[in-house]
């Protein structure tokens, strides 16, 4: 009985994740059309999508240790939708920058990627999320076996890159990015055994 209701709760939470990740995007769509994004709407849009991505990343990192400490294994079902939504938000963030800020001027984009270190950090983070999104197809998961876990441990790196990217992108006021970084580090600390196991898995394979 308890198992059934836990399943139901996990199912509801899963729906909650979809709604929670989608609603702000609908709001954003409305805000764009209603001119609600202020004087420099492109930057506002990019920041909104970027902040959303970081929050989703932190939420994704919260799932496993929470499932473990609550003895609520079904909670792990949230990891896949959360992770995929991270990728969606990050991709929107990245495309808004490419298309609206830089106007798809590819030579400028190349130049900025090299010149602005914080953009290179964000781009690397997006590449990681891209790899994780592609390999989240169930068939690939089975095919990859142990390597899948190794690859998906890169989420730890992605979260830190995202926080670092945020830190370097602000003109001043390190307090807000510092809060996100501290939360990320605390979440990693909470699951330090998994992180250590993941790092060691690279040693073992040789």
């Amino acid at each position: 009985m308890a198992a059934i209701s836990k399943n139901a709760v996990a199912g509801l939470l899963q729906i909650g994740v979809h709604i929670g990740a989608l609603l702000p995007l609908l709001w954003l769509f409305y805000a764009i059309n209603a001119g609600r994004l202020g004087g420099d709407p492109v930057v506002e849009l990019i920041h909104y999508l970027g902040m959303g991505t970081i929050r989703l990343l932190l939420l994704t990192l919260l799932v496993s240790p929470l499932a473990k400490s609550l003895r609520f294994g079904q909670l792990n079902r949230l990891r896949r939708p959360l992770g995929l939504w991270c990728f969606v938000w990050a991709s929107l963030h990245f495309s808004a920058w490419l298309a609206l800020d830089l106007g798809l001027d590819w030579s400028l984009i190349g130049e900025e990627l090299v010149k602005r270190t914080y953009i290179l950090l964000g781009f690397t983070c997006w590449l990681i999320l891209l790899a994780l999104a592609i390999t989240s197809i169930p068939a690939l998961l089975r095919k990859m076996g142990k390597n899948w876990k190794k690859l998906h441990g890169l989420l730890y790196v992605a979260v830190l890159l995202a926080c670092w990217h945020f830190w370097w992108s602000v003109k001043s006021g390190w307090i807000e990015p510092a809060i996100y970084l501290v939360v990320a580090l605390l979440l990693l600390l909470w699951r330090k055994n998994s992180v250590i196991r993941w790092m060691k898995s690279f040693g073992r394979s040789h």
């Binding site: 202020g38 930057v43 609206l100 900025e112 602005r116």
Partner: protein, 270 residues
């Protein structure tokens, strides 16, 4: 305001008034772009006095609202380039700083001009709280070399779009130096001091490797973390109307001001 209007140059499109007054950096009222418009409306700008002191023969304090009526105001339509790589075109109303300073008779020892914003933590939440104020060491201070201050393009502005300045744009009196990054345009000024040595400036104190004393707009000298080669022009229209344009040396005022820096390495003196 009473002023002589100026026709905009044919290649300039004005940034709409609502954007000029709702997209501001005035960290005393918060670091978000719309924070100043939201949090500064209670700023008491009347009465307001401005003190000029230091290396002058005749130091003094002027009533800014009286000054507005008798100094003779003119409109100046200037490009404004923020160090964050966005830009506007703004119709300011004001007067030349140089003409104003001449009234106080600068001495031969006056080599620099130091400016200071109002320090009033009760009215300015950013001065009470580091988190709101972006970590700037208040009061906000800025400076110019004497020849920059005396240049006819440098103005003290008291209005925009024909009206007195709203608080978020630096009411009642602020500096505008069109060939420099926007942060040089110190707002809500209470004190001007003529000095012998280069004065400290707020952004330079906060991050000396990122913001120099000169802060001349220069597409060839990048900010350490981002490129300054181009800028997003904030004009009429929404998200999809935003245009990126190349940044011009000295923000397009090179003909008038490049000679001020002719023997200087602008990479070193950024």
């Amino acid at each position: 305001l009473n002023f002589s209007p100026q026709q905009p140059a044919p290649d300039l499109i004005l940034t709409p008034e609502a954007k000029v007054t709702n997209h501001n950096n005035f960290y005393e009222f918060g670091t978000g772009k719309t924070d100043p418009a939201q949090n500064s409306q209670g700023l008491k700008t009347e009465p307001w006095t401005l003190t000029v002191e230091g290396e002058v023969e005749k130091p003094g304090t002027v009533d800014v609202w009286k000054l507005m009526h008798d100094i003779g105001l003119e409109e100046r339509i200037y490009r404004m380039r923020c160090v964050e790589a966005w830009s506007m075109v703004i119709p300011w109303v004001g007067f030349e700083l140089g003409k104003f300073l001449a009234r106080f008779q600068p001495t031969s020892r006056a080599k620099f001009v130091a400016f200071q914003t109002l320090y009033d933590p009760e009215q300015m939440p950013g001065q009470r709280n580091r988190y709101i104020g972006g970590g700037v060491d208040y009061p906000y201070v800025e400076g110019l070399r004497m020849d920059e201050a005396m240049h006819p393009l440098t103005i003290l502005s008291v209005g925009l779009y024909g009206k007195t300045l709203p608080p978020q744009n630096g009411a009642p009196i602020r500096l505008v130096v069109p060939w420099k990054y926007g942060f040089k345009g110190i707002k809500s000024i209470v004190k001007i001091k003529l000095v012998e040595k280069m004065p400290p400036t707020s952004w330079n104190k906060l991050a000396p490797n990122e913001y120099g004393f000169y802060a001349n707009v220069n597409p060839n000298v990048d900010h350490p973390r981002w490129s300054q080669a181009s800028e997003r022009f904030i004009g009429p229209g929404g998200v999809f109307a935003v245009k990126r344009q190349p940044t011009l040396p000295f923000n397009g005022y090179g003909e008038e001001v490049a000679s001020l820096y002719k023997n200087m390495d602008l990479r070193k003196f950024y």
